[in-house]
Symmetry: C2
DNA sequence: TTGTATGCGTTATCAT
DNA sequence: ATGATAACGCATACAA
């Protein structure tokens, strides 16, 4: 069933059928109806490949994410997918893994598929060494590139980010304002966001005229989702002689591990120390007590990103950087709700 | 940059370039090298749309899932994506939502994109009323359809499922064998898997010659991921006068809610009652105590499914139904580890 | 082993 | 308002 079959049955040329299909105004209403009726009757749909060849686009968008089974990235993919679909685009998903080579290869794979645009989900895509981001800039030479929670200042690259710096700073200030200044800070990544958060943490101390001792900063390099291992990690830190009255995890899972540590060692949260997480994911409410966390507004972030993406594809001139605020969600692991 | 440019530069015809590109053996090594060198030099890659038009395939596969932000479905999508990529296929993701119309529309969308095959992720796709599954059978008329954790007996539909019946039965027997027979069973779906699990639960009682009172079966219809609401739900049941010494959640989140209920009301788990979940997802270890759960072998399930998918596309004759076993993971919420 | 010619199903540019 | 026809870039049957 092709456009020729329809044109024959309708007694018109394929050009007219094509016009009807694409909503061209230059078609007599009567002709349009006749053609539409036949299309309906035959259940005809245009061949997407041929259409793609002609238009040089299949309205497909490549979504790159390190690991779509990650609870946070999965949510991002979900919102992005929904918005893209609503805009008439087809998302092609590619989970790249966390290493650079995998990302490069995935990106090239999608470019070969002739996607209309690329969406890079998560700050993990921005490497500290700018040279390692060159492949992204190169890609931007072919199609517009959207970054979620990452910044690269380059033509045809559009960034949508949460103000993680400010959110983490506010979170920290909540504790400092209560006089809690010995805060154990746990992080597990050197990604763009992670660095922003750490800077926010530092900045809170500066604002209060306090000096932050580096020994309170601890990088966890174990299994991402192994709560037990994280708990042990905290235990090690405590045994090394460090004392603290709060723990901030740069990601929720670290905070969950901190609560586990408390339970395992008979400490009370927030009695003996407060615990805070980041991302406001489901696991903050699975924990006991539930964990105060930052909602970084993933949904509006994704909505904004896709709007920019589609806008750019439509030739609109849009700002290359959008920053949205985070929001602190108070729960029982802290005494911050006043 | 097209195949014509390459052919000119190499001084051969486009047919030869095409042969080189597609690994045809009938090319003189010298010619092949010359062509490959030029391709390399120019960084040429064939146009995917034109290729798709000619071959009537872009090696793309539609992945349908109700909600890829669901912790379990996200993992499934992850494994499936990985295996498809490894097989040289491109996954087009479509989150359908849980209602039938959304599923139908999504499926038709992907079919219009001319995917080579469809993968339906999760038992939610199988409606109790077989008539409602007709659109899936219709789709199977066009491309092979793969079902993860669902069964439809129909030509060109291939099913890969976990033996949820047996796994839930085994889980229940662990309790019955300990003399715990008043088990509160929580479920939140009437999907294919959910029914299988419930049947497994019932069957365990039958095997032991016990009669199961229907008042122990409770359907939770609230927000999927609202732990607080689930906790309240259990509280209501208890207040209605039902007494129990174990709670089985047909999904982990229900078990997490059960543990919350215990904490909120001063009960000890597993002292006052045991708690069991299903899916062995991350949240079982975020809970305190950690929750005994069934690992339904999602990774091997997905690997098997994709292997079948690619096999079928290659014309192999493969079984239309594969059943893999689940595995109980013992944790502190039960006294079952002997 | 290599080249020629045709088809794949559209869209778009001309004419009419 | 409508029709004829040329791209679009590749694969492939057929010739040589």
């Amino acid at each position: 069933m092709t456009i020729y079959d329809i044109s024959k049955q309708a007694g018109v040329s394929i050009a007219t059928v094509s016009r009807v299909l694409n909503g061209s105004s230059n078609v007599r209403p009567k002709t349009r109806k006749k053609v539409l009726d036949i299309i309906e009757k035959c259940g005809y749909t245009p061949n997407a490949f041929a259409r793609g060849l002609g238009l040089n686009s299949m309205k497909s968008i490549g979504i790159l994410c390190a690991d779509c089974s990650d609870i946070y990235l999965a949510k991002a993919v979900y919102y992005i997918e929904k918005n893209l679909r609503a805009g008439g685009y087809h998302p092609i998903l590619c989970c790249t893994g966390y290493d650079l080579d995998g990302k490069k290869e995935s990106l090239s794979l999608l470019l070969n598929q002739h996607v209309d645009s690329l969406i890079l989900v998560g700050s993990h895509f921005i490497e500290p060494d700018m040279e390692d981001n060159q492949y992204i800039c190169d890609a931007a030479g072919q199609v517009p590139v959207m970054l979620l929670n990452g910044i690269i200042d380059y033509p045809n690259i559009y960034c949508t980010v949460c103000n993680d710096f400010q959110a983490m700073k506010d979170l920290t200030l909540l504790l400092l304002d209560q006089g809690i200044t010995d805060i154990l800070y746990l992080y597990n990544s050197y990604s763009y966001s992670s660095i922003k958060k750490l800077n926010g943490f530092r900045s809170a101390y500066e604002d209060k005229g306090l000096t932050l001792s580096e020994e309170y900063l601890h990088y966890y390099s174990g299994m991402r989702e192994d709560v037990e291992e994280i708990s042990d990690f905290v235990s090690q830190i405590e045994k090394s002689g460090l004392s603290f009255h709060a723990i901030i995890g740069a990601e929720d899972i670290l905070a969950v591990g901190a609560v586990k540590y408390a339970k395992a060692n008979g400490f009370s949260v927030p009695g003996d120390f407060a615990v805070m997480g980041y991302n406001n994911s489901l696991i903050t409410t699975c924990s006991e007590p539930e964990i105060t966390s930052v909602d970084n507004g993933l949904e509006p972030l994704c909505t904004q990103l896709v709007a920019t993406c589609i806008g750019v594809l439509n030739g609109e001139d849009l700002p290359s950087k959008t920053v949205l605020p985070g929001k602190i969600i108070h729960r029982a692991s802290t005494n911050t709700l006043k």
